[in-house]
Structure formats: structure tokens, C-alpha cells
């Protein structure tokens, strides 16, 4: 019997060891970026992998040097991501409420229309959207970054799935008690839907924070640029400051990673609902 236990432990050890090369591959980009960001500049050009001394000069420069504007980029991204997140929580909850609890003409057709929007890749409409917002004079503004993303089929779908788990009798009982729909929603449905709202919120915030193509098209001045555009522009400012660029990458990854670490469960629930769109 001890040999069986020993074999099991050996299998566990083998499994652990097999993970090491794979972990190195997956984590290497992050670890390497961190190393370069704190490395004295001359060591980067000597192809050193682990810095001899740790130097936070690049971070100080990224935050304080006026040419880089990192604080502005971070502020902009927070404003945009938070607004889009709250907006989607509201519009998607409202629409999902109608689809889950109310009866009305055209319900099926409208719901199919919502699902059909999932089949249109955002890249296929991005040129027309760019032309629209530029005609409205919205280029370089927060409304251009926020308003087009204030709802999503995935969010409506996710919230509706959640509401369908509520019993219909609950709604009927509320109506009999003279509780109107807005009050029923605010005092019963929303508080009971916190997990789904958390999943939607984490997913939407992260997606907006990570967005690249749309902010690239609609912003020109650094006062409205978001973090992803900010780091990618570092090359145009100073292609020699490799360390500074990597510090920039670390700075914009930290919020994404924090959401991932602290809200992993919600995020993965949101992702699994959202992956249908790809």
C-alpha cells in the first residue's frame, strides 16, 4: 500500500514539475517587462535579464514628466471605464427586466434583434461610427469614448438569464400589493441580482480599460487619450527609452491585474457570457 501512496505522490510531483516550463512561458512577458522597467538603462543594452540594482526612475518619470501625461491617461481611462460600466449596468438591467418580466407586442422580435447584434463584429461598423461622431463634432471628447458603448447585447443577455431564475409569482405578488414595476425592480430585483451585476461590471470595466481601436480613432489630443493609447504613443515620443515604455506597460496592467485577482470569479462569469461574441 505504501508503494501506491508513494506513486501518487510521485505523480503529483511530476505534475508540478511539468507546470514549471508552461508557467515560465505564460508569465515571462510580465516578469520580463517588470525587470526591464526597473533596470538601469545601460544594462538593457548589455542584454542583462535580471537588474543588478532596482531603479524606479522610469516610474517617477512616467508620472511626473509633462511629456508623458500618465496621470491624465489614467484619469481619462477611469472616467471612461466607470461611466461605461455604470451605463451598461443601468441600460442592460432595464432592457433585461422588460424581456424577463413584462409582456408586450414584438417582444420576441426585439429580443432576436438584440441577439443578432452579437453577430456584427464591432470592427465592421467602426468606420461608419467614426464618421458619425466626427460629423457631430465629438472627436476628442469623453462622449465619443463613452456613449457608443453604453449598452451591449451580452449585458442584456446576461441580466435576462439571471432574471429568468426569479419566479414569476414574485412579480405577480408584488403587483397585487400595488408595487409598481420601477419599485419592484429597485427594491427586489436589483438587490437580488448583485452577483450578476458584479460579473457584468467587472467584465465591462476591464474591456473598456483595455480598449484600443476606438479610442485610437476618436482621440487626437493627450487630454482625452486613454491609457492604452498613451503607452503605445511612448514610442513616438522617445524610441530610446525602452525602460520607460515598460514602466508604462506595468502601470496600465496593474489595474487590469487587480480586477483579475480580486474579482476573478465575477470576471470569469462575465467572460463566459461574453465569449459568445468573441
Amino acid at each position: 500500500m505504501t508503494s501506491l501512496a508513494a506513486r501518487k505522490n510521485l505523480a503529483k510531483l511530476g505534475n508540478m514539475l511539468l507546470n514549471i516550463p508552461m508557467l515560465l512561458v505564460i508569465l515571462a512577458p510580465l516578469i520580463y517587462t517588470l525587470m526591464i522597467s526597473v533596470m538601469p538603462p545601460d544594462e538593457i543594452y548589455q542584454n542583462v535579464l535580471i537588474p543588478s540594482t532596482i531603479n524606479f526612475g522610469n516610474y517617477v518619470k512616467a508620472f511626473t514628466h509633462p511629456a508623458y501625461n500618465f496621470l491624465t491617461f489614467i484619469r481619462n481611462s477611469f472616467i471612461v471605464s466607470t461611466s461605461v460600466m455604470l451605463g451598461q449596468m443601468i441600460t442592460c438591467s432595464l432592457a433585461a427586466f422588460a424581456f424577463a418580466f413584462l409582456d408586450f407586442k414584438g417582444k420576441k422580435l426585439l429580443f432576436i434583434l438584440v441577439l443578432a447584434t452579437m453577430m456584427v463584429p464591432g470592427e465592421a461598423t467602426i468606420i461608419a461610427n467614426y464618421l458619425t461622431v466626427s460629423r457631430w463634432g465629438w472627436l476628442d471628447s469623453f462622449q465619443a469614448l463613452i456613449i457608443p458603448y453604453l449598452t451591449s447585447a451580452m449585458g442584456i443577455f446576461l441580466m435576462r438569464q439571471n432574471y429568468l431564475t426569479f419566479s414569476r409569482e414574485l412579480h405577480e405578488a408584488a403587483q397585487l400589493d400595488g408595487c409598481n414595476n420601477p419599485r419592484f425592480m429597485a427594491s427586489i430585483v436589483v438587490p437580488l441580482s448583485r452577483p450578476a451585476l458584479g460579473a457584468l461590471g467587472a467584465y465591462v470595466f476591464l474591456n473598456t480599460w483595455n480598449q484600443y481601436m476606438w479610442p485610437l480613432l476618436v482621440t487626437n489630443s493627450s487630454s482625452y487619450r486613454t491609457v492604452q493609447i498613451g503607452i503605445s504613443m511612448l514610442y513616438d515620443i522617445d524610441a530610446e527609452s525602452l525602460g520607460l515604455m515598460m514602466a508604462g506597460v506595468v502601470i496600465v496592467i496593474v489595474p487590469s491585474l487587480s480586477i483579475f485577482i480580486f474579482m476573478q470569479k465575477q470576471l470569469i462569469n462575465g467572460l463566459m457570457a461574453g465569449a459568445v461574441k468573441g
Binding site: 432592457a95 453577430m119 468606420i127 461608419a128 461610427n129 481601436m213
Partner: protein, 304 residues
């Protein structure tokens, strides 16, 4: 009892009917109004507008000027650079879809058993889902640096990964596989958890080894998950943009000029919005066809 029967019995239950006033009739639409306003302005309208623009020659500001019918499509189909772009896109999509799947399958198989550190390993394998493609692309610019980058240091080479036409597509594919590995890990792991333990137990009693179990139990059991995941990979690979823009700008030459990047080039470098719109519609049709393939497959596989 089938699913549709159970739905019928649920709705057939006697329900309290309240006589509807005007407000009660319009109320549902008020709930839908915010979402549908956004959809109308930024999804339905631009979709129609894209179809419209694709049949016009435009000026530099994107205003439709001369009706051109299917001219933009005809010109695209007659140009060799369009077909080169389609070819590059399909190569890229194929490498990324299978590469992502293999990465996700490997990492999820490595974390099925319990051992010290498995939680950390699982979190690490899922982590790329949280990383922005733009941020990852910037990190990989350093990794792929021709003289001071990690990859050349480790290999002892001086390859110009991003600038060499033989390596550029491979490089952007590697970055994209790394980015896609997280979502592949999450879905395939969930699929693996759904395989009943009894299957493995009876196979163990029959003396089947690890590889035998992998190929005759695990992979067949999760084949619907793998199929779904490959479709997700294909659709998201078709939409890749940041990696291309930040690593190769579609080059060298047209070596990495995938469809979405070609749309961007047409519109913002050549100001040919009509052609860009036609390419957008072609992208839409490709994604639609792939989605429909997935739907029809799912419909058939419900009965297994």
C-alpha cells in the same frame, strides 16, 4: 417531457390578468428605450451606413459622392493585394485558432489534478484574459527587439522578428496565441470538469494508461467544448487589430495586412471610405458564415 412541453405548461398556468391602461402598454418600451437608442445610433444605423457607403465613391471626409454600385467590391475582388490580405488573414486565423486551443488544452490538462500550487498555476494560465492586447503588444515589442530583446537573447540569435517578412506573421501570431491562451484555458478547464469521474474509474480498472484515457475518454468527451472554443478563437482572431498596428503596421509589405488592418489603412491612410466599407461588409459576411456553422452544429449536437 421535452423542453418545449415544459415551457408550455409553465405559461399555461392561470395567470392574474390586470386590465392594461395606456401606461402599462407603453411601460415595457420605456424600459427598452435606453438600450435601443444606443443600438439604433451606434449599431443599426452604422451597419446600414456601411452597406450604403460600400456602394459609393467617397471624398476625403467620408461623404458619399458617386454611386458606384458593386464597383468597390468588383475592384477589391480584382486586386491582388485584397487576395493577399485575405490569404494572410486566413493563415493568421488558422495559426491562432489552433495555437490558442493547444495552449489552452495543455494548460488545462496540467491543472486537472490537485497538487500544491495548482491554484497559482490555474490563475496564471487564466491571467492573459485580463491583459489588454495593446499593453501585451508593447511588452512583446521589447521581447522581440532585434538586438536587446528576450527572445533573441535566449536563442542567441539576431532575428528581426517584426521586420523580417518571414517572421512577422509568426510573431504577431505568437502574441495573439499568448493573449488567447487565457480564455481557452478557462473554457477547456470548465469542459474537463464536466467529464464524469466514473468514466476514468472504469477505464483505470481496465488498466488504461494516461494517454489512452486522454485520447479515448477525455478528448471525445470535451469535443463539443473544443469545437465551440475553436469558433470563438476564429471569430476573435478575425477581429485582431492592436497587435498588428503596434507590432508590424501590416508590414513588412503586406505580410501582416489582415482584413481589419486593411480596413483601417483604407480609411485613415488612403481616405477610401467606400473601399473600407466594402471590406467591412466582407468581414461581416465571413464572421456571419462562421457563426451560422456553429449554430447549425449546436442544433444537431443537442441530441447526442
Amino acid at each position: 417531457m421535452s423542453l418545449s412541453d415544459s415551457l408550455k405548461t409553465r405559461t399555461a398556468k392561470p395567470r392574474i390578468t390586470v386590465k392594461k391602461g395606456f401606461y402599462a402598454t407603453v411601460e415595457p418600451y420605456l424600459f427598452l428605450l435606453p438600450a435601443f437608442t444606443i443600438f439604433a445610433l451606434f449599431l443599426f444605423y452604422p451597419f446600414g451606413r456601411t452597406i450604403y457607403l460600400s456602394t459609393f465613391l467617397t471624398d476625403k471626409l467620408g461623404n458619399a459622392k458617386v454611386f458606384w454600385g458593386l464597383g468597390n467590391y468588383r475592384d477589391l475582388f480584382a486586386s491582388s493585394s485584397f487576395w493577399a490580405s485575405v490569404g494572410v488573414t486566413f493563415q493568421f486565423v488558422a495559426i491562432v485558432a489552433f495555437g490558442g486551443l493547444i495552449a489552452g488544452l495543455t494548460t488545462s490538462l496540467l491543472t486537472t489534478r490537485k497538487y500544491p500550487g495548482v491554484t497559482f498555476a490555474s490563475a496564471s494560465y487564466a491571467m492573459p484574459v485580463a491583459i489588454a492586447s495593446a499593453a501585451a503588444s508593447m511588452a512583446f515589442r521589447m521581447i522581440l527587439h532585434p538586438t536587446n530583446g528576450l527572445l533573441n537573447i535566449l536563442l542567441g540569435t539576431q532575428i528581426n522578428w517584426r521586420g523580417d517578412p518571414n517572421w512577422a506573421l509568426f510573431s504577431v501570431s505568437m502574441v495573439t496565441i499568448w493573449l488567447a491562451s487565457g480564455i481557452n484555458f478557462i473554457f477547456i478547464s470548465a469542459g474537463l470538469r464536466g467529464v464524469p469521474d466514473e468514466l476514468y474509474e472504469s477505464a483505470s480498472i481496465d488498466g488504461a494508461g494516461y494517454w489512452r484515457k486522454l485520447f479515448s475518454i477525455t478528448l471525445p468527451s470535451i469535443s463539443p467544448t473544443l469545437f465551440f472554443q475553436i469558433i470563438i478563437n476564429i471569430i476573435s482572431a478575425f477581429q485582431s487589430f492592436s497587435q498588428i498596428r503596434l507590432l508590424t503596421e501590416g508590414g513588412p509589405g503586406d505580410a501582416t495586412n489582415v482584413i481589419v488592418y486593411a480596413i483601417y489603412r483604407d480609411a485613415f491612410f488612403n481616405f477610401r471610405f467606400g473601399t473600407a466599407a466594402a471590406r467591412s461588409i466582407i468581414l461581416f459576411v465571413i464572421v456571419l458564415v462562421i457563426t451560422l456553422i456553429q449554430f447549425s452544429f449546436e442544433k444537431r449536437s443537442v441530441h447526442y
